[in-house]
Structures are given as structure tokens and as C-alpha cells.
Symmetry: C2
Subunit: 204 residues, 2 copies
DNA sequence: ATTTTATTGAGAAAATTTTCACAATAATAT
DNA sequence: ATATTATTGTGAAAATTTTCTCAATAAAAT
């Protein structure tokens, strides 16, 4: 029913709705929102229907109602604490991203094994990995962003799992072995760039 | 036939094969590679079959042969030049990523409208956007990474398209309007983190 | 009030993706 | 040499996702 791919679209609708609302709109039709999110109108309606979200026949959907429904589904009523493992180029960039706090995702701390990276006055505090348990417990963190080098990814993942992390956004180009109750979402920017080259026909 | 989703898997196989080769292996079975890439053995075989890649019945696949086939498909015989538009946190992090040159993707330049960002001695040269055409022509660039703020994304995209870019890896959380002959690959890290939270059940 | 119109909601159909099942066959064992 | 075994390759089946269709219906027009 609620597949991995569907949630991606729902979150895109949410983004689109926020944008449309900022533009002063109050109502939206499946067709409009579909265009905003790059999806067919039928699929927009089917997605909402699957999640029990109702519109008004002929009237379209009320943007505020839709946003409320979506924000209930995606827990936007509560701030979610997140940690970053590996404060190199990627980790640092992500730690400064305004989009996260704007969306109730609060990066509480970064961790690194490199002593030179620790305690550098930064957007967020950076600790040695020894402090992981302490912070995870104190802030009730259950989600982490993994931004360590490929070679260290599995061992870092094991550490995160040991201290109770249940979701890992993995930026390292490796498949992590985790227990069944832990979810990994892999984002591989190299693969995305390679795919783009292939599909844009520049490799011919 | 060659869908968007399939290329993602092929590139994961490629990554897995490189890793297995580094570990000293010379042959691989669909089952092994599938485990490495998080895919069923049948699907591995079907994917290869669809792209006309052959193994040896009972003997499995020869890793070097497979890599050759894949590198032919993904043009790894030639270096591809890429530019980055927007040299803020994200753009800078990406410009320093070793993985790109290691995979024959050569980041030739970054562009920014902020004068303070220009010509700072950096991994790669950073130019004002006025120099875009010149660099794109000189280096025959057809693919760009877009890392400007959401508000500037469409206008930057228009500029890239005007000067002949055919593929855009878009990190900004907006859907770009581009002509039919231009391909956009959207990577939205916020959506990926939100999705992870949803699917790891931490929002309940 | 009644008719017309635009849009949702959902079941059915189509398309796509994944798995199943097994014949073909190459390597190994007897 | 022959039999056994493991693995590929691929059509067929199953599952999933997307599109098609159209009845239901709320808003707007008459
Ligand atoms: N930089 C990019 O643009 C980019 C793009 C795509 C993917 N990635 C991937 O993201 C990951 C991070 O890339 P990066 O460029 O930030 O690398 P980086 O080398 O700049 O940073 C890695 C950081 O991790 C730390 N680290 C190493 N081992 C650790 C451990 N066991 N525990 C905690 N910290 C540890 C290092 O000290 C360093 O600070 C890599 O896996 C890379 O492949 C990066
Ligand atoms: N930083 C992150 O971790 C992160 C994560 C996810 C998504 N993103 C997205 O990536 C994009 C870049 O994020 P960032 O954090 O690097 O932002 P940033 O503000 O650090 O950098 C943006 C850069 O773009 C430049 N710029 C602005 N308008 C421009 C224009 N018209 N032409 C050329 N350059 C221009 C700015 O001068 C700045 O240097 C944003 O769209 C953001 O939403 C960033």
C-alpha cells in the first residue's frame, strides 16, 4: 500500500503546495499540482486516495487541508533530531543547510574521528565519536546522516545501530548491512550524475 | 527497454564489481552481485540480458568482461567535463569530491554571482556566470550540476540551457522547466531524509 | 429551480517491473 | 566417456504501478 516510491511523490506534492500557497493560492486541482510535481493528474488523485485524503468534487483540493493531512502523515508537528556522522566536506555542507531546520529537522550534532575537526566553532557542535551514545540518548535521536568515507561506512553504521539509530541516510557509495528494524536510504550522487550523462545522450 | 530505473541498478552493479575485483575476485555469480547491489539474482540476470551482456552458464560472469561491457555502456573510456553552477556549501563540497575524477567525471569549473566567491584559490577555478559560455564551449561541456538557491534555480537552468547544456543534476528543491532535449535529474536530500523518517517509523 | 460544467474518486485496463520456473549448457565428478 | 551439478538465459506468470474511463457530485450558469 504505502510504498517507498509513493512517499517520494507525496513529499513533492507537499513542496509544491507550499510554493503554491506562497504564491497566494488557496485551492489546487490535481492537474495543477501534478504539473508542479512532474506527475500525472490521475496519479496525484490516486496517491491522495490511497492515503485517505479527500478533495471536493469540482472544487479541487483546499491547499491548507492538504498540507494539514500531509504534515500529519509526515510528522511535521514535532521537531525531529538528527546527527551527522563524518564532518568532512559533505557533512559540513549538510550541517549548514537551512532547509533542514525549516522543515523541522534539527541537526543536533556532528561526529568525527579526526581530532582536528572537533570543537571547531561551527553551526553545530562537533564531537568525537566516543560521545555518540551520550548525545543520541540526550536528544532522543533515531535518525542519522552518514557522510564518512566509503571505507569507514560499515563500521560507522554499526556504531550508529548499536546506539539505537533506526534510520540512516547513507551518502557513502556502499550498501550497508543493518538489522531488519533499521532502514537505510541510499543517496549516491555519483550514480545520479552518471545516469544523467547516459540519459542525456552525451555518451554517444 | 532501457528505463531510468534500470540504469541505476546497472551502475550499482558496476560499483559492486569494482569492489569485488579489489577484493581479488575474478568471477561473480548473479546471486553474489545481487547481494552486493541489494537486488535479486533474477533481476541481475534480466538486466544484463536486456543490455545484451552474456555470462557463462555454470561459470558465472567474468568480472573484467562485465566491467568492460558496463564501461562501454556508460562511456568510461572518455573523460566527461562537467561544470557546477553555484559555489556555496553544496557546490564547494561537490567540487572537492574525489569520486568524480576517479570515475572520469572532470569538474572543470564553478560559477557564482557572488563576487566574493570568484577566483578564491580552490580545487577548481570559480568564474562569474558571465564566463559560462566561454568555458562550456572551450571544454565541450554538456552536463552541469545545479547548486544555487531555490529562488535562482530556474533562471540558472535557463542560462545553462541557453549555452548548450543537455543534462542538469538539480540539487535545488524545485522542478525545472526545460526543453524536451534537455534531461534533468533531481536529487532532493530533504525529501530523502523525510522519507527515511517516515519509513523508519520514527514519526509514529 | 434546473441545467450545465468541471473535477474528484475509484474500478477496470494497460503498462511496466519483478519473480518464477525450467530448459540449455558448461564445469566438475565419477 | 558419461553422469551429475550449478548456473545462466529467457519466456511466462505474478505483482506492482500508472493510465484510462466514467459515474458521482459540487459549483456555476441560466
Ligand atoms: N563530497 C561530496 O561531494 C560527495 C559526493 C557524493 C558522495 N560523497 C560521499 O560522502 C562521504 C563523505 O564525503 P566527503 O567528501 O565529505 O569526505 P571527506 O573526506 O571530506 O570527509 C569524511 C569525514 O569523515 C571522517 N571520518 C573518517 N572515518 C570516520 C569514522 N570512522 N567515524 C567518524 N568520522 C570519520 C573524516 O575525518 C572526515 O572528516 C563519502 O562516502 C563520499 O563518497 C561525497
Ligand atoms: N547545503 C546542503 O546541504 C543542501 C542540501 C540539500 C539541498 N541543497 C540545495 O542545494 C542548493 C545550494 O545549497 P547551498 O547550501 O550550497 O546554498 P548556498 O547559499 O551555500 O550556496 C548557493 C550559491 O549559489 C550562488 N548563487 C545565487 N544565485 C546565483 C545565480 N543566479 N547564479 C549563480 N550562482 C548563484 C550564491 O552566491 C551561493 O554561493 C540549494 O538549492 C539548496 O536547497 C543544499
Amino acid at each position: 500500500m504505502s510504498t517507498f516510491i509513493q512517499t517520494k511523490r507525496l513529499l513533492k506534492y507537499r513542496m509544491g503546495l507550499i510554493r503554491l500557497k506562497q504564491m497566494g493560492l488557496e485551492k489546487v486541482f490535481s492537474y495543477t499540482l501534478g504539473k508542479e510535481a512532474g506527475v500525472s493528474a490521475e496519479l496525484v488523485r490516486k496517491d491522495f486516495s490511497n492515503f485517505g485524503i479527500k478533495g471536493n468534487r469540482r472544487g479541487g483540493y483546499d491547499i491548507d487541508d492538504l498540507l494539514n493531512s500531509l504534515e500529519k502523515i509526515f510528522g511535521k508537528d514535532r521537531v525531529q533530531n538528527v546527527v551527522i556522522m563524518g564532518m568532512g566536506n559533505m557533512g559540513k555542507a549538510l550541517s549548514q543547510y537551512r532547509g533542514f531546520p525549516d522543515n523541522k529537522m534539527n541537526i543536533v550534532a556532528g561526529f568525527d574521528i579526526d581530532p582536528a575537526k572537533i570543537n571547531k566553532k561551527f553551526q553545530i557542535p562537533i564531537y568525537p565519536v566516543e560521545n555518540l551514545k551520550e548525545i543520541v540518548d540526550a536528544f532522543h535521536v533515531s535518525v542519522a546522516i552518514l557522510a564518512v568515507p566509503e571505507i569507514a561506512a560499515q563500521e560507522s553504521s554499526d556504531l550508529l545501530v548499536r546506539y539505537g539509530i533506526k534510520g540512516i541516510l547513507n551518502l557513502a557509495p556502499v550498501l550497508l548491512k543493518v538489522p531488519d528494524d533499521v532502514v537505510v536510504n541510499n543517496v549516491n550522487l555519483m550514480v545520479e550524475l552518471e545516469r544523467l550523462m547516459y540519459h542525456s545522450g552525451v555518451l554517444k
